[in-house]
């Protein structure tokens, strides 16, 4: 996967992962991919809902050692 940007949102509490992701994705072009790392347990539901509403695509998500990783394609 061709990732344009990696966002470290580890340790941040709600609503910061979404606020940071929004800021970061604003700087991308349509079709580019951002990789997000978070530790907030709600991030999975939050990011999925947020991406859907904003017309972005959540390509993939993983969980490893308590770190949630997401790949979102800007729509």
């Amino acid at each position: 996967m061709n990732v344009t940007k990696v966002l470290n949102a580890k340790g941040l509490a709600c609503p910061m992962p979404i606020v940071k992701t929004k800021k970061a994705i604003n700087e991308l072009e349509t079709g580019e991919i951002i990789e997000i790392h978070a530790t907030d347990k709600g991030a999975k539901s939050d990011l999925a809902a947020w991406a859907k509403s904003g017309g972005h695509e959540l390509l993939k998500d993983t969980e490893e050692d308590g770190v949630l990783k997401f790949w979102v394609k800007k729509g």
């Binding site: 709600c14 929004k22 947020w50 904003g54």
Partner: protein
């Protein structure tokens, strides 16, 4: 007219925890690219107060109100388990541990995200608060301005 969705919140409460909930929702909605309005009325106005004393001319009752109400977001009380001030101290410590933003930081973040913060002028008069005592960058309005935003709103809350 813009096609962005709108979130409108009436903040009536002057409690730290309730105000925090309002500002977390507002910041979340702003990240959703909503146009967000928080209409501060009654005790909710205290979230907008500067934390320093600002010399202004006012009557005796208004002065008393000013002294009895929290001066700024950081000095607000908890709605539950206030414990004469121990509650807020404890919760702020826990919030730091969990890396949650403090209420003043949430207010700042909301302003950065261009959340429209409205101070209700009618209740400002009742509580004796003047513009000079409130944060910079606020809008001053009444119920009609709020309804104007809320009638196009998709999310509307009273806290």
């Amino acid at each position: 007219m813009s096609d962005r969705k709108k979130t409108t919140i009436v903040l009536f409460s002057g409690d730290y925890d309730k105000t925090m909930a309002a500002y977390i929702i507002a910041n979340g909605a702003a990240a959703y690219d909503h146009e967000v309005t928080i209409f501060h009325t009654f005790w909710g106005l205290n979230a907008l107060r500067k934390d320093t004393q600002v010399p202004v001319n006012k009557g005796f009752l208004e002065k008393m109100f000013g002294k009895m109400m929290p001066r700024g977001a950081d000095k607000m009380r908890l709605s539950k388990m206030h414990f004469a001030g121990m509650g807020p101290k404890m919760i702020k410590q826990v919030m730091k541990k969990h890396n949650a933003l403090s209420l003043p930081q949430l207010v700042e973040m909301a302003q950065e995200q261009e959340v429209k913060l409205i101070a209700c002028t009618m209740t400002m008069d009742l509580l004796g608060l003047q513009k000079e005592e409130l944060l910079d960058g606020l809008d001053y309005a009444g119920v009609a301005a709020y309804i104007g935003d809320a009638e196009e709103g998709n999310v509307n809350l009273f806290i």
